[in-house]
């Protein structure tokens, strides 16, 4: 009987043997005998239609059967059959015929300024058309990203957002207009993007990105762009990108400063290599708390858009391993080198995070706000108004910044910015009730905590801050 040598890579599917002797007169009969004895080998050698797979070469002794009589080649009792995969490959994008759906005449006109750049050309524009980009957030960063990626001809964009446009967004979220206030950001952004480029395929995901849905949503895209401004989502996007092997184009903004880089790309570092642990909740103010120059997200979002387009086109030098720091006031860009941390829990050599976790918990944000003790419970603005009207002796403490106080304030309030509070405790009466407020209630909660630790006992936090005051008590106080 002729002998079939099992390639070492397939021994595990052939009962760990090196060779099999099977009866048969032709190569076809022998291989049929082999796969009936070891059925697991079948899919490795044959297609569903029963044809030898394109990468499988069969040799009889030293001869390739393709040059003999193919699978009808006769086999003698002393012959040896070898199964050898054909191995080849190549890097080039240049020699690859573009498989993209070709561009029609209107598209050629639309993208003409791309097509005449040698580095983009027809092939690059087809890559853009074939590209699938997930954009998390249709807010400050999402706005310039959505506008320019649509215009550039990115074929498919998955937009994830669940927010509604409000007046405070319009100072920077240029994808939405005044007429869009009250609309879903998803719908407002979609309208603008499809107006810019009707060839865009836009997938809308009206949901917060979560550990439950992230992998499912992101798996269909080539590149993920993070346009969010909270830590749980940043870690979530990062881990999902690492697990899925997709580049994470990152940007962040605060007041006059921004950062951008590309994480989890071509062996480069991830967000956790840079920040293994999230900051304590509340330490880094969000844009809603700290403010942001309206133009800033334009600059940072377009750095992200540029990186995404470069990755799609396969040109230039990406920001992988480089964190760009931008300071609008000095109009300077600096660059920090980032390295992949071999100990990184998600992208390191021995990852301990192999699936998505609870990111709210990881970032120290309790799922349910713990019940505040009675002596530091929330107080409604309406009750505060009653205290003032009844001339109850108490201190109304405004812990915002002076420039916020100027926008609008409650006349009886004493202003001590949160940062100054520790050194100005002596200005407060320990025996009297203290009601703290800020813009929305986050900083004042911290103030209450600080006062409690300093021995104050009669404390209340005005729920919803001055925004709620404006809603419930005095609409003449402007919201910001």
């Amino acid at each position: 009987m002729a002998k079939i040598l099992i390639p070492t890579a397939l021994r595990q599917f052939a009962g760990k043997v090196d060779s099999v002797e099977v009866p048969g007169d032709t190569v076809r009969e022998l291989l049929a005998g082999l796969t009936s004895r070891h059925p697991e080998l079948k899919r490795h050698l044959f297609t569903d239609e029963g044809k030898l797979r394109s990468f499988v070469n069969v040799y009889i002794n030293d001869e390739d059967i393709r040059y003999l009589n193919k699978d009808a080649t006769p086999v003698g009792a002393n012959d040896t059959i070898s199964i050898v995969p054909s191995i080849a490959g190549g890097s080039t994008a240049v020699a690859e015929p573009a498989q993209a759906a070709s561009l029609n005449k209107d598209e050629i006109l639309r993208y003409s300024r791309h097509l005449i750049i040698p580095e983009v050309g027809m092939e690059g524009q087809q890559k853009l058309k074939n590209a699938k980009v997930a954009l998390i957030g249709a807010g400050a960063l999402g706005a310039p990203l959505g506008l320019y990626l649509s215009a550039a001809g990115v074929g498919r964009i998955g937009l994830v957002d669940f927010d509604v446009v409000d007046f405070t967004n319009l100072q920077r979220q240029v994808i939405h207009g005044t007429k869009d206030v009250g609309k879903k950001k998803l719908d407002s952004a979609a309208e603008t993007m499809l107006d810019i480029n009707p060839y865009l395929r836009l997938d809308k995901f009206e949901t917060p990105l979560s550990s439950e849905n992230a992998l499912d949503i992101l798996k269909d895209y080539d590149i993920v762009i993070d346009g969010t401004d909270n830590f749980p989502t940043r870690y979530l996007v990062n881990d999902a990108c690492v697990l899925l092997g997709k580049p994470n184009v990152y940007g962040s903004i605060f007041r006059f400063e921004g950062q951008a880089t590309v994480f989890a790309y071509e062996g480069g570092p991830c967000y956790r290599c840079l920040y293994p642990e999230p900051p304590p909740p509340g330490l880094i103010p969000s844009c809603a708390e700290g403010g942001v120059l309206g133009i800033l997200p334009g600059t940072i979002g377009l750095i992200q858009a540029t990186e995404a387009v470069k990755i799609i086109l396969g040109i230039g030098e990406s920001l992988r391993g480089r964190l760009v720091l931008y300071d609008a006031l000095s109009m300077r860009f600096r660059e920090l080198k980032l390295r992949r941390n071999p100990e990184c829990p998600v992208c390191g050599d021995h990852p301990t995070i192999t699936k998505l976790i609870d990111y709210q918990e990881f970032c120290g944000i309790p799922k349910h706000q713990p019940q505040a003790p009675a002596d530091s419970a929330d107080i409604d603005p309406v009750e505060v108004k009653a205290l003032i009207d009844n001339k109850t002796p108490f201190t109304l403490l405004d812990v915002r910044e002076p420039h916020e106080y100027q926008i609008g304030n409650i006349p009886t309030a004493k202003l001590i910015p949160l940062g100054d509070l520790p050194k100005r405790l002596n200005e407060l009466n320990r025996d009297e009730l203290i009601v703290a407020h800020c813009k929305s209630g986050v900083r004042s909660a911290k103030a209450i905590e600080l006062l409690k630790q300093s021995g104050f006992t009669k404390l209340r936090n005005m729920k919803g801050g001055i925004l709620a005051w404006s809603d419930k008590v005095d609409p003449s106080v402007p919201k910001y």
Partner: protein, 135 residues
């Protein structure tokens, strides 16, 4: 996951760097997902080798027989992408074999830039990235 012993990895890298600006290729041999031997093979492609490689099946068969003799197995294939990132290109995919890990080394200006490993599927349509550990 594929793990490559340090000296083996160094040898693969230096081979790929030596082939620059052409594509270099070779076979990774070992056991239980750990590569303990690499065999550099000649690129027998008869066109421009800057962006393509072909292995001679006879070379591959010889490496397989040596592995068999030593109780090892062929775990993967490596090749370089000169002045190009270590992605699994469409051409790589079209000529791939799902039995193996494919380590792609990006060699830029003659030096290793980065590397990735991929597992192609049976239909040569998708290659999933797998964890690559060396050293």
């Amino acid at each position: 996951m594929i793990r490559i012993e340090r000296e083996v990895w160094d040898r693969m890298v230096s081979h790929a760097e030596k082939c620059f600006p052409k594509e270099g290729c070779g076979v990774m041999v070992g056991k239980d997902g750990v590569v303990s031997r690499s065999v550099a093979l000649p690129n027998v492609y008869d066109g421009p080798q800057e962006d393509f490689f072909v292995m001679d099946p006879k070379d591959l068969n010889r490496v397989d027989e040596e592995a068999r003799r030593d109780g090892l197995e062929v775990l993967g294939i490596y090749h370089s992408h000169p002045d190009c990132d270590a992605y699994f290109s469409k051409r790589d995919l079209e000529h791939s074999c799902p039995w193996f890990s494919y380590v792609v080394l990006s060699i830029k200006n003659g030096r290793l830039d980065h590397a990735n490993s991929y597992r192609p599927d049976f239909d040569q349509t998708v290659a999933n990235k797998e964890e690559l550990v060396y050293g």
